[in-house]
């Protein structure tokens, strides 16, 4: 069964027919062709698929597309403004937080949510806030530094 979904994606209203069982992750990647959101564990454990629903970070592999009907989602593609990197994105580059990069969209979205809720977190709060996002390159030191640096800019 398919259904029609109305959702605001990165500020643009969209109307898309999807199979009812489609996860939010597959919806974003396969139906909207926004592939910046990544798939890894499909279990809500790795955080690679993190995006924002109503401004809050979620594991999109654990939600159905149908759950965002009438709502608003923001993906990594919606974070930079007019082609300019956000201070958070820039901090990731400045601090050397980007290695292979596969986890980075999820890390950035989780960090974005964290800074929205807590604009000046402590290091421990950053570690806690990003603990659901795995980085096998092990770049956590630099990722945490980037988030702290971005919090000073904001």
């Amino acid at each position: 069964m398919t259904m029609r979904i109305h959702v605001t994606v990165n500020g643009t209203e969209r109307e898309v027919d999807v199979v009812e069982s489609t996860t939010l992750l597959d919806f974003v990647r396969d139906d909207l062709h926004l592939t910046g959101t990544k798939e890894c564990c499909d279990l809500g454990e790795c955080g690679a698929c993190t995006l924002l629903v109503e401004g809050r970070a979620v594991n999109s592999c654990l939600m159905l597309a149908a759950e965002v009907e009438g709502g608003e989602i923001t993906t990594i593609e919606g974070l930079n403004e007019n082609g300019k990197l956000s201070p958070l994105q820039d901090a990731f580059l400045a601090k050397g937080a980007v290695q292979c990069g596969f986890c980075i969209p999820g890390q950035v979205m989780a960090a974005h949510d964290l800074l929205q809720r807590n604009p000046h977190p402590t290091l421990d709060e950053v570690k806690e806030g990003l603990s659901g996002n795995l980085c096998r390159c092990g770049g956590y030191v630099q990722i945490c530094e980037a988030v702290l640096a971005a919090s000073e800019v904001s």
Binding site: C46, G96, Q99, G101, F102, C103, K127
Partner: protein, 747 residues
């Protein structure tokens, strides 16, 4: 003149696309009319395939084909980096949990998933070999058919190979103290966050592949061989991997998707799940029996090491992992008498392959824990005993091989200082320090093309794989330095066998040295052509012209290369093309087929606090020191070394693939197999470098990036011993294992 790019922490090339989501990984690539592939497995380790019924699956709407071994060329093509032993799909039996017996090709992922559920596989459970002990048992089932290795005298055993190294006479050697212990190192999975993914498409009488491989040229040759195609008719695109760590070094399902693309005449895509990725790659586990003799002053008298390494059902590159690790199983020390015998054992488990450190973390776990045991027995400081045995720079330590190529004692002293060695410790805390050494690349061939364009910008073509180490950035820094142009005006092209020249592979921390030199030489080739250009343009003899770092100088005239190019290419345009290469040939007489071009030497020091009630280890401070010769990009070195250290903390503290009695992976997936998160970071982490400019790479650099995990386990374990009084010789140091050891000691 432009700012000096060497030694500057230039931002990561390709970083922008990785923070905006624009970077395309394999799963992000969409081809017109692409089909989707899902694999069919049996939920058992070693099983005989009785029958496969695909009728119902084939009838699922959207299914294009269901392929089993029978549908592939006969005899089944087999492949591997060393031995051609792995079939494209399981033939007659599955030899490890997760080996596919069939593949469904469908118009959609959903159709393929539905059809997989309907493939009926009747199988007979067979007894399997899942441990070192069972592989060596006299009545052990044979993992591989003897016909696969007809000329091998060991083909009726599960021993694929026995590696021997050593010198002197261990039997005759005398010692004041002999330390005799057995160490085990578990199976670890790579867990790249990007699961393995493959795309193939028919292409102009050949085949085009997209795979995140560290080794696109090997892939190209292999696909050409199994499909009977000329190398030029196989085009391998290798977009930057989303983490590789050795797991994406050698072929996995590329031959399968290539055949499926040709069978269906359409592009096909196979995205493995994380669970399937776990089943495809892992680190070689082992049991090491070390008997080490010491004199009373702490100097080594002999090393007698027997390693039993459990590889998987197919050889992959595991034999090489075992050989390279074992060659340095005595560590970076002066050892008067040494004997190392390591067996490479086949088992009914996931094929083990290259994994960051390549055998070194396993052997350092043993040789460093032995040093600590000796230090405790002899009442010698644990740092001091290492310093007494480390060779000086230039001193031979592997009999008959290249000497120590760095000031290794300097690394140890720096690590000791940074961890506060010798300063008072709080209750419940302890410190440890360990070293490790890995042989760098022994052979290799890297070719580079540098194109200097008419406006003075440049395109670098290099076959290296940028899998997170930042190879693009460092290689661009080399070109920027040699051509005297800003790094912003350089493009580095990689990842396409049809457009970049040959590179052996991205492995063994080789790229800075091999590809870096190839690019430096390509730039020198350009500069030589620029000298001739200047001589011709200005009517001077070439001897009177110099071109260095973007500046042309001849008698009475100094100008930039850019200005000269604009004049020279004013009308018909053009460019200057530089070729460069670095080769190192196979040396049949060397135990590794060639002397290492450098040693990757690393020292780790750690301070921990152990909770005796729970066995939990709190990492207070963690220090790594890497002897990198010269840090071309200090930030890149730090992120690599600290990242490696975090990865090392995984195998030290929590990671371990667990098999059940049927050879099935019990902790299959991210829920049950835990890797370090941000909350597992040590409270303080420091990465230091030693830079003496004594490497063979550009500007005296050596390879880097693996070191940070090579000595993690023995350093942390030594700290745990000081903190808690227990000695543990099996990894990982889980709270349960530590708690049990404390309980046993206090009982």
């Amino acid at each position: 003149m432009n700012p000096e790019p060497i030694g500057a922490s230039e931002r990561r090339f390709g970083g922008r696309g990785r923070v905006t989501g624009e970077q395309q990984f394999i799963a992000d690539i969409r081809l017109e009319s692409m089909l989707h592939v899902k694999l069919v497995h049996v939920d058992y380790g070693h099983a005989r395939i009785v029958s496969i019924d695909t009728k119902k699956a084939a009838a699922v709407p959207g299914v294009v084909r269901v392929v089993t071994a029978e549908d592939l060329p006969q005899p089944m093509p087999r492949f591997g980096p060393v031995h051609d032993d792995k079939p494209i799909l399981a033939v007659e039996e599955t030899k490890y949990h997760g080996q596919p017996v069939a593949a469904v090709v469908a118009e959609s992922k959903e159709s393929a998933e539905a059809a997989v559920q309907l493939v009926r596989v009747e199988f007979e459970e067979l007894s399997g070999v899942y441990t070192v002990e069972s592989a060596l048992a006299p009545d052990a089932p044979l993992v591989q058919e003897p016909e696969l290795r007809p000329d091998d005298p060991l083909n009726h055993t599960n021993v694929l190979n026995e590696f021997r190294a050593g010198w002197g006479d261990v039997e005759a050697a005398t010692a004041d103290v002999v330390i005799d212990n057995v160490y085990t190192f578990p199976m670890i999975t790579h867990f790249a966050i990007e699961p393995h993914a493959f795309i193939a498409a028919p292409d102009d009488g050949g085949v085009e592949l997209w795979t995140a491989t560290q080794n696109p040229f090997q892939m190209q040759r292999l696909i050409a061989r199994v499909m009977g195609l000329p190398v030029a008719k196989v085009r391998v695109h290798s977009p930057d991997p989303g983490g590789a760590f050795g797991g994406k070094q050698h072929p996995k399902y590329e031959p399968l998707v290539a055949f499926l693309a040709l069978m269906t005449g359409r592009p096909v895509r196979l995205l493995l799940t994380l669970e399937e990725t776990f089943q495809e790659v892992r680190r070689t586990s082992c049991r090491i029996h070390a008997r080490t003799g010491f004199k009373n002053d702490g100097t080594l008298a002999f090393q007698d090491i027997r390693g039993d390494f459990l590889m998987g059902a197919y050889a992959d590159i595991a034999e090489r992992v075992i050989a390279k690790g074992s060659y340095l199983a005595c560590g970076p020390y002066r050892v008067p008498h040494a004997r190392v015998v390591s067996r490479a054992l086949l088992s009914h488990t996931t094929p083990s392959t290259a994994f960051r450190g390549f055998g070194t973390p396993q052997v350092s776990w043993a040789h460093e824990s032995q040093m600590d045991d000796a230090a405790r027995r002899l009442g010698i400081d644990r740092v001091e005993i290492r310093l007494r045995n480390l060779p000086r720079k230039g001193e031979e330590f592997l009999r008959g091989d290249v000497p120590a190529d760095g000031d290794w004692a300097e690394s140890v002293r720096n690590a000791a200082r940074a961890i506060g060695w010798g300063s008072p410790l709080a209750a419940g805390r302890g410190r440890g320090l360990a070293v490790a050494i890995k042989a760098g690349p022994t052979t290799g061939a890297s070719y580079a093309i540098v194109r200097l364009h008419s406006d003075g910008s440049a395109t670098v073509l290099a076959g290296t794989s940028d899998m997170g180490q930042g190879a693009r950035t460092v290689l661009a820094q080399v070109a920027a330095r040699e051509l005297g142009i800003p790094i912003e005006s350089i493009r580095v092209v990689m990842g396409d066998t049809a457009s970049v020249p040959f590179d052996l592979q991205t492995s063994a921390s080789r790229s800075t040295v091999f590809m870096g030199q190839a690019i430096a030489r390509a730039c020198a080739h350009i500069n030589a052509q620029l000298r001739e250009m200047a001589a011709e343009l200005y009517g001077a003899g070439p001897a009177g012209v110099t071109v260095e770092r973007g500046v042309v100088q001849l008698t009475g005239r100094t100008e930039t290369v850019g200005d000269m190019l604009r004049m020279r290419f004013k009308d018909v345009k053009g460019e200057v093309i530089g070729l460069g290469s670095m080769r190192s040939e196979y040396a049949p007489d060397h135990p590794l087929g060639g002397a290492p071009h450098f040693f990757e030497f690393s020292c780790t020091a750690s301070e921990v606090e152990v909770d005796p009630e729970t066995g939990e280890i709190l990492l207070i401070r963690h220090v790594t020191v890497a002897d990198v010769g010269r840090a071309l990009n200090p930030q890149h070195v730090a992120m690599q070394d600290e990242g490696a250290a975090v990865m090392g903390l995984g195998h030290t503290l929590m990671e371990n693939i667990i098999l059940d009695g049927a050879g099935r992976i019990s902790n299959l997936g991210a829920l049950d197999y835990r890797i370090p998160t941000s909350k597992d970071l040590p409270l303080e982490m420091h990465s230091l470098v030693v830079e003496n400019g004594d490497g063979p790479g550009p500007y005296g650099s050596k390879g880097a990036g693996e070191g940070g995990l090579m000595a993690t386990a023995p350093a942390v374990a030594s700290a745990v011993t000081e903190a808690s009084g227990v000695v543990i010789r099996d990894l990982p140091l889980t709270p349960e294992r530590v708690w049990r050891a404390i309980q046993e000691r206090t009982r």
